[in-house]
Amino acid sequence: MRLALALALLAAPAAPAPADVDAALEGHVLPRIAALADAAEALSDAAAEGCEGLEGPFRDAAEAWAGASHLTLGPLEEGGRLRIVHFWPDGRDATARGLRLLREGGEGAWTPEGIARASAAARGLAGLERLIFEDGGEPCALTAALAADLAALTGAVDAGWDGFAALMRAAGEPGNARFLAPGEAEAALYTALVGGLEFTAEQRLGRPLGTFDAPRPLRAEMRRSERSLPNVAAALRALRELAALLADAPETDAAFARAIALADGLEDPALAGVAEPSERLRVEALQTAVREVWRTAEEEIGAALDVPAGFNALDGD
């Protein structure tokens, strides 16, 4: 909205922000977003050279994404970028459909403009994973075009964070319509933390787990590249980093340590074992541990920051 943008631009950048907002921005948000942009650029550079050997650069980009995917505030929420960087969950296999359309369009359509018009489901890591791990990177020109698109997108997110970080530091300044009080920037980071824990427990782990009678191993995130479990571990490490910068929260940190140890102890990168009773128990134990981190963080950090639960969001009327 024009008004909000105008107000945002008025915000003075030189406000004394609460120390933990600065610390979280400098020690977590900005480096994680920069790492994502760097990894996407490395993948794009490699794809420009040729379509073989892209598995490693893809996995590096996935690792960076898992460490930043909870930072949904700011530039990633603009223009549907979150869903473009990684279109998941995808219950209807929209990625396959989107890729088919792109293939049918032919090389002439694989321009930056053409890719930008394509389905979000075919762009980003979702489309790239199929091409690299199912089709050996072919067609090369499409893989290169999608990788360049992802690099441009994550580069724009990285650039956009300059302004958004300034807006967070200027929380409570006159004209800052997004963060009307100093505590609101902290609260937004806390929301990202809790949202990341929820996503990890209920989506990254919950979707493949399904139910005992109907496990859904094919629904695991990035199972083709065997990033399902590594993404959980990377997300937990990143969220632990953020939690420690937001508040002194020893119980939350201990809960993180337990969950990360469980994730590191599993040897099931695609989470395919959810369909086998004994292995499934271990994935369920990991999910329980992540939920425990979530609950502990709400009690310990939510209370420390005095973040109100959604008064209207939870009303349901």
Partner: protein, 353 residues
């Protein structure tokens, strides 16, 4: 009951000496709120969000209806509430307590008609599972005068089309019963509709189409030309949710659905409130679950996005829009401020309309 009959009765009571809105700081909006102490209040807000008055509420309110002339507001208990309070906004006194008749409960919204002589309230005839509008004589001590059928189940919001005596009713389609609280009893067969009522007769009843059967039509706004905007709440799987905003004009064919692909998922299937901008050129639906509002040009084109945590209230303000949120934020065309309260779902414009 026919409107003419009770309007004649109401006219016998001459103008009640009561404060006009100008005497309570000329508020532009009313909103219910939770104070830091945990107490609840109804607050009048000036055009830039400054507080004009504050009167206590005994419990969390839902919406309020502002009398078009008198500084008087009706605050509704949250559904399935059985009472509503007529508040003197100058003194804070409770002028009347409206009790839902036997077999009825309020849904939390109401609208004045007849120049403020009659109040219509959305109610559940829960034995029959049918919606009714309760009619109250606003010039005669809010005596219950009768009721009209709304032509659907679960009527949530009612608004009067500006400059007319036509009421638009959002029949949300969801059957509930006080014995089971807010439990939804009929999702498998729900059929929400938007009904236009004049003198108790349905002039038009419109549905959103088969694919939108699970979109409960919940909140409404009416533009000066009679176009009605509907905020929707999706009752199916969240991931299957479609548009959460629809526009319809009587006699204008099928309702038009508005959605923004980039942010539709972030709305989480839940439209909180809806309003047209003061100039009528834009229409906004709020999404408290995702902390964003989508603002669409009515003429078409991409949506603008306003982001605030727990954003829910929205109303016309000047030529544009004002928004309120659960963190106390008030955004208006001239800027933004934060009050030390949690704003409740709705921001209700004050004025003759």
């Amino acid at each position: 009951m026919r409107r003419r009959a009770f309007l004649a009765g109401a006219a016998a009571a001459s103008a009640i000496p009561a404060a006009a809105w100008a005497e309570v700081g000329a508020p532009a909006f009313l909103a219910a709120a939770r104070e830091p102490s945990g107490a609840f209040a109804l607050i009048g807000l000036g055009p830039e969000g400054g507080e004009a008055f504050r009167v206590p509420l005994p419990a969390r309110g839902h919406a309020a209806a502002a009398h078009p002339l008198r500084a008087e507001a009706v605050a509704f208990a949250r559904r399935p509430g059985t009472f509503a309070l007529v508040l003197d906004c100058r003194t804070g006194a409770v002028r009347r307590r409206l009790e839902a008749p036997e077999g009825r409960h309020f849904y939390g919204h109401g609208a004045y008609l007849g120049g403020g002589t009659v109040l219509a309230t959305t109610e559940n005839d829960f034995a029959a599972g049918e919606g009714v509008l309760g009619l109250w004589d606003a010039h005669g001590g809010y005596r219950r005068m009768g009721e009209w059928r709304t032509g659907g189940t679960g009527p949530h919001e009612v608004v009067r089309l500006p400059g007319t005596e036509v009421l638009a009713v959002a029949n949300g389609g969801i059957r509930t019963h006080p014995a089971t609280g807010r439990r939804k009893l009929n999702l498998a067969v729900m059929r929400p509709n938007l009904a236009f009522l004049r003198d108790g007769a349905a002039e038009e009843v419109v549905e959103l189409g088969e694919g939108m059967r699970l979109a409960s039509i919940r909140h409404l706004a009416a533009r000066r030309d009679g176009t009605v905007a509907m905020a929707l709440q999706w009752q199916g799987e969240e991931g299957e949710a479609r548009a959460l905003l629809a526009l319809h004009r009587r006699g204008g064919g099928a309702p038009r659905l508005l959605e923004d692909p980039a942010t539709q998922g972030a709305m989480r299937g839940y439209g909180g409130s809806v309003a047209f901008s003061g100039d009528g050129a834009r229409v906004a639906v709020t999404g408290p679950r995702g902390g964003l509002a989508q603002v669409f040009p009515v003429a078409g084109g991409p949506a603008g996005i306003v982001r605030r945590p727990d954003i829910c209230g929205v109303a016309p303000a000047g030529a544009g829009l004002a928004f309120t949120d659960g963190r106390g934020g008030i955004l208006h065309p001239g800027g933004a401020r934060r009050a030390g309260v949690a704003w409740d779902n709705h921001l209700v414009p004050v004025g003759p309309g």
